[in-house]
Every structure is written in structure tokens, then in C-alpha cells.
């Protein structure tokens, strides 16, 4: 299965990373060599193997449904890239 330029651009769109044509060509080459190498996994028959989804074989713990962090609005907004003391500011979304 080879990855063409169109697929690279599609993946970049899905990843929300813009790339120019030169970068896309380089990525096409890199990704193809990586996936060619990855495809050795197809030598293995895994039809009867259960996928391993978590290494820690525990069920998730329950905790009390109570608030532990209070009055942290300032903390949360502190690293916001656009200054505003009440909200996160983003480019206009609704016309």
C-alpha cells in the first residue's frame, strides 16, 4: 500500500497541520519508507489474537463525584495566548 501525494495532503488536513508542496513531497517519501517497514507485521497471522488495549489489567477506579479544584479561573486562563480575563478568545466562528 503506497501513500500518494493526495493522501499526504488528506492526512495533513485531518491532522490540522498545513504543509506546503515541498514538505508534502518529503513527507510522501518518509511515510512510504516508514510504512514499507511497518508492513512486515503482515507476515504474522493474528486472526485468533485478542488485541492488547491496556497493559495495566485493572478496571478504572471510581472516585467521589466532588469538586477538588475551586476558584481556578485565573489559573486556567493564565496561559491563554490572547489576553482576556474572562474567556478564551478565538477567531470569529459564527458568521
Amino acid at each position: 500500500m503506497s501513500i500518494d501525494l493526495k493522501t499526504v495532503k488528506h492526512i495533513s488536513k485531518l491532522s490540522r497541520i498545513s504543509i506546503d508542496d515541498q514538505k508534502a513531497k518529503k513527507l510522501e517519501k518518509d511515510l512510504n519508507s516508514i510504512f514499507k517497514w511497518i508492513e512486515q507485521l503482515n507476515q504474522l497471522n493474528t486472526d485468533k489474537v485478542e488485541p492488547l488495549t491496556s497493559i495495566a489489567e485493572t478496571t478504572l477506579r471510581f472516585r467521589k463525584d466532588q469538586i477538588e479544584s475551586k476558584n481556578i479561573r485565573e489559573d486556567i486562563l493564565k496561559n491563554s495566548p490572547k489576553d482576556n480575563k474572562d474567556y478564551f478568545v478565538v477567531p470569529k466562528v459564527v458568521e
Binding site: 498545513s18 492488547l52 497493559i55 466562528v93
Partner: protein
């Protein structure tokens, strides 16, 4: 002052407790040396002034019951530190100042340790040579232009150059053990669930573990004891009875069965590594351990499996960097354009490549062929270890297939770079503990390491084996401070 720098972490602790050395003396010595060592580029953020203040504060009211009383530590910049910049060596987090502390670093400060600064690493811990950092390459103190390994490259470089008495790193596919091996130091990746992941910048959540990087095995046991704890803030933290790794450390490994996996004898491995491995077996026999040949048949499939699982998890974890709530933001014509430009300008090439691999293997139509397939092979790899541990107590392998390489040697070929982690990655996939200890030198006098892999939660077992071997190996490495001249 040279003498102070030569003391191990455990020695420093006992000298502070016996009031032979003050925290201020130690801290000032390490600050001074770190200031003269800029050429190595191991620090990305220095907190020298506050470290000196804290050491004075400690000395005024010392608490000698602490396990790390007034000991300064520089740490990998992947651990969030409250009010101290935490960047993961990425442009996208260049100005990020956490308002909370990671649980592992909190454990250190609770035991009296003092932050010296934050250490360089591969961007988001993605790399094996510390060449992907936004803040530039880290140099190994062993030789000019030599990589320290990665991703905990700044940690390994600072530790080997004696810019910190000991340090902590993170290991997703070998990021503690490979740089430890490249720099002649000790590095341990604990069992998955042993050290809390809370407050560590996430890379691949089913693989990431924090661990100690130290000058010797004793220090490693001491630091692990402080780092490892059950933490309700990490949903995969495991509540098990943690031994006193440091006080329980011993050299009695008589009758232990050590497995030698034949699949780790890879093509093109230098003869020196082969020899080192043989020596390792002899040392273990001398200590009364029994050597048993074993097979881990799916070893060769571990790396390709890792390069599906880790990027898949990374692409999800790194979706949070969108320029909205924190981190770098590029201006865009609309919201989507802002996202795309922010991520394009904020991430480096290797990180983008891995996000894209991850996005692809999780995308509609490819999930079964890649991601599900990899999870199944991961199960086979784990089964290999389960079977092996029915026969043996621990496994001995080389840590890496080669010694450290020069900067630029592998950075243009991703697959050849990935092959560095061939012996360390299976351990992460199976969630096991592994330790790398320095074991010898190659023809260029560059260090080589041996890895001991243990059963889940048997950190004590591999530490004891490492401790026994360390004495026999008697590793010596002269570092002549060339970067300060």
C-alpha cells in the same frame, strides 16, 4: 570542590545528614559547574537563583529525616513544574508556565530536593538523539559532536557531565535506557503504573513512564523509592506494596535464573557488544545466578508495532495543542486556518511526521489494517515475555545495538534512527521494568550498556542483579571536561 562533585547521590545524602556538607555548598557547586557548561546545551531553563535561596532556607531549618535533604536536581523538561516554564522542548509550549506540579516532581520536593533547572530533550520526547529539540542539539560530554541519546538527552548529558547529582527522565520506547547507555550512566524504566504520569507532558499514554537516571545502582534505588507512589490523579497508577528499594538493595542473587533471548543477537551488531553480553553472563554466573537460553520470537515485530501504537496515541494526545487555551498561536483567517498554521509552525518535523502517521493509522479504512493489527502483535509480544518469565526471573540483553553516534549521522533517515530502540521498545510494549547499566567501552572509548528486564513490579529484583553486576564490571569512564576549556 572536585571532591564534592565526585560524590554519589547516596553519599551526598549521608554527608548532609552528618552535617559534613551543607545544601548550599552542594547547590552552589552544581550551579557554578552548570554555568560553565553551556556548550553542552543540556539546560533549557535555569532556576539557579531560586535553587540557591532554597538551599539556604533548607540549611537554616534542616530536616534530616528527608530522603533527599537539600539535594539539587535538574530534571527533564517534560515534567510540569509549578510557576517554572515547561516546554517539552517544543516551540508550541515555548512560553507555557504550569499552574500545577507533576506528581513525580512533587514527590522529590516532598523529600527535600531542590530544583536546579529544566533539561533539554527531544521535542515531546520524540527522538533517540536529542536532535529534534526546538532549543537545539544536546552534546554528550563524552565527545564533541556526539549525541547523548534521546529523548532524555539533556538529562543524560547533564548527569554524565556532573551538572546534577542525579536526574529524572521519561521512557516511552527507551528514552531513559538508551541515553543512559550512550553516556555510561544508570537508567531505569519502572513497570507501567509504578510512577504517576500526572503532570508529565503526554506522548504515548499506554507506554510512558518516568524513571531515575543516576551515576550508580544504589542512587537509582534511592531515587526510584522517592519517585514511585500510588496516585489517584493517574487513572493507570497501580496501588501495590512498594518495597524500600534503597534499604532492601542487596547482592544476593544466588540461584536466580537469568534468560538470554536469542533474538537479541541482531545482524550487524558490533563484536564488542557481543563480547560485553558474554562477559555479563560470566559475571552473573560468578554471582551464583543460572543462565538459561530463552526465545522471545516476536522481538523483530516490536519496533514496527511501536511505530503504530506510539504515533496513534501521540496524535490523540497532541490534538490538545490548538493555540486556543495555552501555548503558541499563529494568526489565521478563520478558526481552522488558525489551528493549521499554529500546529504547522509550532511543531517540529519529527513531531509532525508522527502525528501524521498516527492520524493515518487511526483514520477510517486503515484502523483495522494498522492500529488493530499492532494491538494484536503487541499482545503476542507480551505473551512472549509472560512465557519467558515462567522459566526465568529476569532477562539480560544489550541496551542498544550500537554506541553513541555523531550528530547528523542518522537524522535524515527516520527508520535507521528508529532502529536504535530495538532492544528497549519491547519492554515498554509489555509494560515491564528495565534497567540499563554501563558495562564497557567500544573501540572509540564510547560507553556501552547492558539491560536487565524484570517481571512486572520486580524493580527490586533487577536492581539487585544490576547491583551485583556493577561491582564485577567496575566501569570507569574518564570525562576530561573538554567543554569547559
Amino acid at each position: 570542590m572536585t571532591k564534592l562533585l565526585d560524590l554519589s547521590l547516596a553519599q551526598l545524602v549521608s554527608k548532609v545528614k552528618s552535617k559534613d556538607i551543607s545544601s548550599k555548598e552542594i547547590t552552589a557547586t552544581y550551579v557554578e559547574r552548570s554555568k560553565k557548561s553551556k556548550k553542552l546545551n543540556s539546560y533549557v531553563e535555569e532556576t539557579f537563583e531560586s535553587a540557591l535561596n532554597l538551599s539556604e532556607k533548607f540549611d537554616m531549618k534542616p530536616d534530616f529525616n528527608k530522603k533527599l535533604p537539600g539535594i539539587p536536581f535538574a530534571i527533564k523538561d517534560l515534567f510540569c513544574t509549578k510557576n517554572v516554564k515547561t516546554t517539552a522542548s517544543s516551540k508550541i509550549l515555548e512560553n507555557f508556565i504550569p499552574t500545577y506540579e507533576s506528581s513525580v516532581t512533587q514527590n522529590l520536593w516532598n523529600e527535600g530536593a531542590i530544583l536546579l533547572g529544566k533539561l533539554n530533550c527531544d521535542e515531546f520526547a520524540m527522538g533517540s538523539s536529542n536532535e529534534t529539540s526546538y532549543f537545539g542539539n544536546v552534546i554528550s560530554p563524552i565527545d564533541d559532536n556526539l549525541v547523548p541519546g534521546g529523548s532524555s538527552g539533556g538529562s543524560a548529558s547533564a548527569l554524565a557531565a556532573k551538572l546534577t547529582p542525579a536526574t529524572i527522565g521519561t521512557d516511552t520506547g527507551g528514552s531513559i535506557r538508551q541515553p543512559a547507555s550512550f553516556t555510561g550512566t544508570v537508567g531505569l524504566k519502572p513497570t507501567y503504573g509504578s510512577c504517576s504520569r500526572y503532570g508529565i507532558v503526554a506522548f504515548a499514554s499506554s507506554l510512558d513512564q518516568a524513571g531515575p537516571m543516576t551515576r550508580d545502582v544504589k542512587d537509582c534505588a534511592l531515587l526510584l523509592e522517592v519517585m514511585s507512589s500510588f496516585d489517584p490523579k493517574d487513572s493507570t497508577s497501580i496501588n501495590f506494596k512498594r518495597p524500600n528499594y534503597f534499604s532492601d538493595l542487596n547482592k544476593n542473587i544466588k540461584g536466580k535464573k537469568i534468560g538470554i533471548p536469542k533474538e537479541y543477537r541482531v545482524d550487524g551488531m558490533p563484536s564488542e557488544i557481543e563480547k560485553l553480553w558474554e562477559n555479563g553472563k560470566e559475571y552473573l554466573k560468578d554471582c551464583g545466578a543460572e543462565i538459561i537460553d530463552i526465545s522471545l520470537p516476536h522481538t523483530n515485530y516490536a519496533l514496527p508495532t511501536y511505530y503504530i501504537v506510539a504515533p496513534a496515541e501521540a496524535s490523540s494526545n497532541l490534538a490538545r495543542y490548538d493555540g486556543v487555551k495555552y501555548g503558541f498561536r499563529a494568526d489565521g483567517e478563520n478558526l481552522i486556518d488558525m489551528y493549521e498554521k499554529t500546529r504547522s509552525q509550532g511543531f517540529g518535523d519529527e513531531v509532525k511526521r508522527r502525528i501524521m502517521i498516527g492520524t493515518y493509522v487511526l483514520s477510517s479504512g486503515y484502523y483495522d489494517a494498522y492500529y488493530l493489527k499492532a494491538q494484536k502483535v503487541r499482545k503476542l509480544i507480551k505473551n512472549d515475555f509472560d512465557d519467558a518469565f515462567n522459566k526465568v526471573d529476569a532477562i539480560l540483553t544489550p541496551s542498544t545495538p550500537s554506541s553513541a553516534f555523531k550528530i547528523g549521522d542518522k537524522s535524515n533517515d527516520p527508520v535507521s534512527m528508529y532502529l536504535n530502540d530495538i532492544f528497549t521498545v519491547p519492554v515498554n510494549l509489555a509494560g515491564l521494568p528495565g534497567i540499563s547499566i554501563p558495562a564497557g567501552l567500544d573501540k572509540n572509548s564510547y560507553p556501552l550498556g547492558l539491560q536487565i528486564i524484570g517481571k512486572p513490579f520486580d524493580e527490586q529484583g533487577i536492581l539487585d542483579i544490576a547491583y551485583s553486576m556493577e561491582e564485577k564490571i567496575n566501569f570507569k569512564l574518564d570525562i576530561n571536561d573538554w567543554w569547559m576549556k
